[in-house]
């Protein structure tokens, strides 16, 4: 990965963009377009439409920067435009994306309940067998394969969960930034993130258990 260049502070950046300094525009274009494309891919159906979404979002930024009020950071504002552009595009592609959790989404277990003791067991609600240990990142010779599994797991997620986990864990935005970009509550954001992470963890567990029986030592209570 190329390290993103150090960007000037927002006030300077916005002033230079409004003064139509194209080197300032090139800076943000190069710094943010990659992340914007990855987020757009988590919302629309093809890489080609994601690329168009990124370009359309930049056109909207060019037109709108004169009216940017600075109530959020410039980057959050740009990403909000990106997400709204992508949502409109997804709708045109026949997909409906709304951010509120669907009924039952926040109270169904994220770990298979049969992995815990039932009422008749000696330790109700406790692991029947501990999760098998995973290979440590250093001993993992299959990093490429692991990333493929992660990509496949992300593709399987419900849209809203995929967008939230992409922003939080792939792109590294804070909870506050994700809430500002998606205009959702912190609680809502955490429900979506939690379900998404638990799902991806489960897929990695399946993969590690299937591929490395030598490391899968089960510990029983």
């Amino acid at each position: 990965m190329r390290e993103p260049p150090e960007l000037p502070a927002d006030t300077e950046l916005v002033a230079r963009l409004r003064a139509r300094e194209d080197d300032a525009f090139a800076l943000v274009l190069d710094a943010w377009s990659g992340g914007m494309a990855r987020v757009a891919r988590s919302i629309v159906s093809t890489h080609a439409s994601a690329d168009e979404v990124v370009q359309d979002a930049w056109l909207a930024v060019i037109q709108g920067v004169a009216t940017f009020e600075g109530r959020s950071s410039l980057k959050t504002w740009v990403y909000r435009i990106l997400v709204n552009t992508a949502k409109r595009r997804a709708m045109r592609e026949g997909r409906q994306i709304s951010w509120s959790p669907v009924a039952g989404e926040d109270d169904t277990p994220t770990v298979d309940p049969t992995r815990f003791g039932g009422p008749g067991d000696r330790f109700p609600g406790h692991w029947l067998a501990f999760p098998a240990p995973w290979p440590s990142p250093e001993q993992d010779m299959l990093a490429g394969e692991v990333h493929e599994r992660v990509g496949a797991a992300l593709a399987e997620l419900p849209d809203r969960q995929r967008v939230v986990i992409t922003l939080r864990d792939v792109e590294g935005y804070s909870s506050d930034e994700v809430c500002a970009i998606l205009e959702i509550s912190a609680a809502n954001q955490r429900v979506l993130l939690h379900r998404a992470r638990a799902f991806v963890r489960g897929k990695l567990e399946e993969y590690f258990v299937a591929s490395g029986s030598d490391i899968g030592t089960e510990v029983s209570q």
Partner: protein, 85 residues
Amino acid sequence: MTDLNCDELVELVTDYLDGALDDEAGRRVADHLAGCDGCTGYVDQMRQTIATLGSSRPDVELTDEARNALLATFREPPGRSTRRT
């Protein structure tokens, strides 16, 4: 105040890692983790999952064509829009 069960703890991991639990709930999680290898392993795997997600960013860039077109649009005087479709 009752002790947490493992099946309750696994639903609090994201709030816990985000520091979003109140003091008492945070203490209950920490107390449980101190005595439970299963949940400690689970939380470690969640951290590992997050780290793996953070290192799995495909390198994506604008094409030169798109980049040049956007820069050209940016340089135009305002009001003379030639928005591509």
